[in-house]
């Protein structure tokens, strides 16, 4: 079967993800683009004796890249690797979104155009004469709506048609008016360049005149610096005469061409009306009220998600107003409890079947326990993805980001960070990955260093157990104190980083530039695609990692340093490591044995924060963590120390891996560990001192 490679390109928000999923269905394969962590999604579809391979390119506004993702899209488009390029245009805002189409048509004629969201044109007051437009553009145009996707077949026909057709001459020629003489001079110059074998000379001339960094660096790499100097001098001359920068002059001409092409084929009836969506946008834009509503909305959504998954915080509220039964009911029927009960049952059955003790311990304590931890996270990840997908698809997210921007700026972040921070309250791992949304690199670095200070769910569980073990202090007060401390530390550390960077003149004010798409009810199909994609990702990446980590901690707990199996944890590898750090814990009044045990529990928490509890339970030989702490004789002030320390210390291993894979920098990854360890130790020591003083 013959294969056709199709690159799918469009501006952000044009509806590319939706269309891509619609065309290729379940055949999606996810890989990474070479050298970067940007996802490369590919899918297949068979049609009329062809196997068509679709490659989803990151959204890009034009052919000059302005971010890492866009470099990928642009380089793939200009590389000529694709047989056909599918360009998406948003039929509700054709003027803006045809810019990319025009730029691609300047380079190649192997183009098929899709006008997306065709169901919405009517309500937007947009009327398009596609036949006329097709004639003027020269490439086939297919209007499609994902709500009534019946024209996919004709889209596939057009792709094959364009592929089989002889490459025609340039379909559209932009008239650059008073720039033309300069373009011709540059064209003369670049004909000498080796790049002229790969790209049309006129296209090269226009892009170089526009100041395309990537082409410039290609010239430099080939040692054609004299050529580049000539181009630059023509550029300077043109800017002086026309009193406009070249990027401005060229973009203006391209938009004039777009308007000329649309002339007669596009009618927009009436001014855009302020629908319900726009009133909501206006409300969220109000100073003070807007950020407040945004914050409450996000908080409410996450409260619901956590209550469904763990019972918290509704259970605590119910308990404090005396409804103990209802509280424990909600807790017992929360998703993660249900999942962990299944796994408890599974371990019981397995242990009764297996007789060999090492094998049983490995399978039950190591493997089933490990998979169990992964699976208890799954419902949480899934529900968080659904909520976030709804925020994203409805178009609310960018508005929330804009309304929180002034507040976040005070600690050196832009509105682009709202999403990563919000997700981090659930789990830091997706939070770290979500920092990609920001175009400010400095802001991303600071987020990688500090986002793990945001208390995730796993820490909540541990802290809850500590709070229950208290004898004379109030547990709820400790919890509130712990959360407040974590957030204050997050803000204070970021503020200090900003001051530090500013002193060294490395600070760039984080800026916001976001398109605000129309707000609408989320489309279930789209929500499912996004969620499914996330779950798959989690299962593959995090699962293997958490699984290996629990295997590792089982080995550390059950093997001696001479690698023989032992049932006595005090002889294990883990304990010998713990004895190295135990001196740090003796100032807190722990005796030597206890300091070792607690130290070991904290090391276990590095793999997954919940492991702090299970380790303490094993050491005290008592299942209920709160009782275990009392048996070990941990006093209230020490519990305060442990609570604050657990809140702040070292990100778990999964978060560290995420930080490394995003930053590709050992320095940043290790700095985040150092920053957290030092801060955690200092602040929890302080809390211990205050607590001791209070109790006397």
């Amino acid at each position: 079967m013959k294969e056709i490679t199709v690159a799918v390109a469009g501006q952000p928000n044009v509806g590319k993800t939706a269309l891509f999923n619609l065309i290729v269905g379940q055949s999606v394969e996810v890989a990474n683009w070479p050298g970067v962590t940007v996802e490369k999604r590919e899918g297949f579809r068979e049609h009329k004796s062809y196997r068509i391979r679709f490659i989803d390119l990151p959204g890009t506004y034009g052919l000059t890249a302005t971010s890492i993702d866009q470099v990928i899209a642009r380089n793939f488009i200009i590389s000529g690797e694709a047989d056909v390029i599918l360009i998406l245009v948003d039929s509700t805002i054709p003027e803006r979104t045809m810019y990319l189409l025009l730029e691609v048509l300047e380079l190649t004629s192997k183009v098929v155009v899709v006008f997306t969201k065709s169901d919405m044109t009517h309500s937007a007051g947009v009327h398009i004469n596609y036949d006329l437009l097709e004639k003027k553009v020269g490439a086939p145009i297919v209007p499609i709506s994902i709500k009534t996707p019946d024209s996919i077949g004709s889209l596939l026909d057009k792709i094959i048609e364009v592929h089989e057709r002889e490459p025609s001459k340039q379909l559209i020629k932009v008239d650059y008016g008073e720039l033309e003489p300069f373009i011709r001079s540059v064209e003369e110059v670049v004909r000498e360049s080796s790049l002229a074998n790969e790209f049309p000379a006129r296209w090269l001339a226009v892009k170089l005149l526009e100041g395309d960094r990537d082409l410039e660096s290609r010239l430099l790499k080939r040692g054609e610096i004299d050529l580049l100097k000539k181009v630059r001098s023509i550029q300077g001359e043109a800017e002086e005469i026309l009193k406009l920068t070249m990027p401005e002059a060229i973009a203006t001409k391209r938009f004039s061409k777009v308007i000329e092409v649309l002339q007669g084929a596009l009618i927009i009836k009436g001014m855009p009306t302020r629908g319900r969506g726009e009133h909501l946008i206006a409300l969220l834009y109000k100073p003070w009220i807007g950020p407040l509503i945004s914050m409450l909305l996000v908080l409410a959504l996450f409260t619901i998600v956590f209550t469904i998954n763990t019972g918290f915080p509704l259970n605590v509220v119910l308990e404090s107003i005396g409804l103990r039964n209802l509280a424990s009911y909600i807790e017992n029927y929360s998703l993660s409890h249900l999942v962990s009960r299944c796994f408890d049952y599974l371990s019981q059955v397995t242990s009764s079947i297996l007789s060999d003790s090492i094998l049983r311990s490995l399978i039950v304590d190591g493997i089933i326990n490990g998979i169990g931890i992964v699976m208890t996270f799954l419902p949480l990840i899934a529900t968080i993805s659904i909520v976030l997908a709804m925020l994203e698809d409805s178009g609310l997210l960018p508005v929330i980001a804009a309304s929180m921007h002034p507040f976040l700026r005070r600690m050196g972040f832009s509105g682009h960070m709202v999403f990563p921070i919000a997700v981090s309250f659930g789990c830091n791992v997706p939070g770290v990955i979500a920092t990609r949304a920001s175009p400010n690199f400095g802001e991303r670095v600071r987020a990688w260093l500090t986002i793990a200070f945001i208390p995730c769910q796993a820490r909540l569980i541990v802290v809850l157990a500590f709070a229950t073990a208290l004898r004379s202090l109030n547990g709820l007060v400790l919890m509130a104190f712990a959360y407040a401390t974590a957030l204050l530390v997050f803000m204070a550390v970021n503020k200090s980083l900003v001051i530090m960077y500013r002193r060294r003149r490395l600070y760039e004010e984080p800026e916001l530039l976001l398109e605000i798409p129309p707000i609408h009810a989320p489309i279930p199909r789209v929500i499912w695609w996004i969620t499914w994609n996330q779950i798959k990702h989690f299962l593959i990446k995090a699962a293997t990692l958490i699984f290996l980590a629990s295997l590792a901690s089982w080995i550390m707990l059950h093997y001696t340093s001479s690698l023989t199996y032992t049932d006595d944890y005090s002889l294990s590898i883990g304990m010998s490591i713990a004895s190295v750090i135990s001196p740090l814990l003796t100032p807190l009044g722990f005796n030597e044995d206890l300091a070792k045990s607690i130290g070991f529990a904290l090391i276990a928490g590095f793999f997954a924060k919940e492991a702090v509890l299970s380790t303490i339970a094993i050491i005290a030989d008592e299942e209920v963590p709160a009782k275990a702490l009392n048996i070990l004789g941990v006093n209230d002030a020490q519990l305060v120390f442990l609570t604050i320390f657990t809140m702040l210390y070292v990100p778990c291993i999964a978060t560290l891996v995420a930080v490394y894979s995003e930053s590709k920098s050992f320095k940043i990854t290790l700095s985040s560990v150092a920053l957290m360890m030092v801060t955690a130790y200092a602040i929890s020591m302080l809390a211990y001192t205050v607590a001791t003083a209070l109790m006397h």
Partner: protein
């Protein structure tokens, strides 16, 4: 001539020049904010980012960026 951050809510303006540094400038041009383009300021509250409509789409931009865009008022 004034900068976009100073255009009050509800006013329309025509872009004169865009001189935002580095990649921001290119991004603005690609989003249709080119010399000669008409912009409507939808929200502008002196503290937060401003909200504008350009070539049919809504765009939110930080004041730092808006200050780099010079415009002429068209009407009130």
């Amino acid at each position: 001539m004034l900068n976009l951050a100073d255009v009050p809510r509800g006013c329309k303006a025509k872009v004169v020049t865009v001189n935002a540094p580095g990649m921001w400038g290119m991004r603005l041009l690609q989003m249709g904010i080119t010399p000669g383009a008409e912009i409507e300021v939808i929200e502008n509250s002196s503290t937060g980012p401003i909200l504008i409509r350009a070539r049919g789409s809504l765009i939110s931009m930080g004041r730092g960026i808006a200050r780099r865009i010079l415009v002429e008022l068209i009407s009130h």
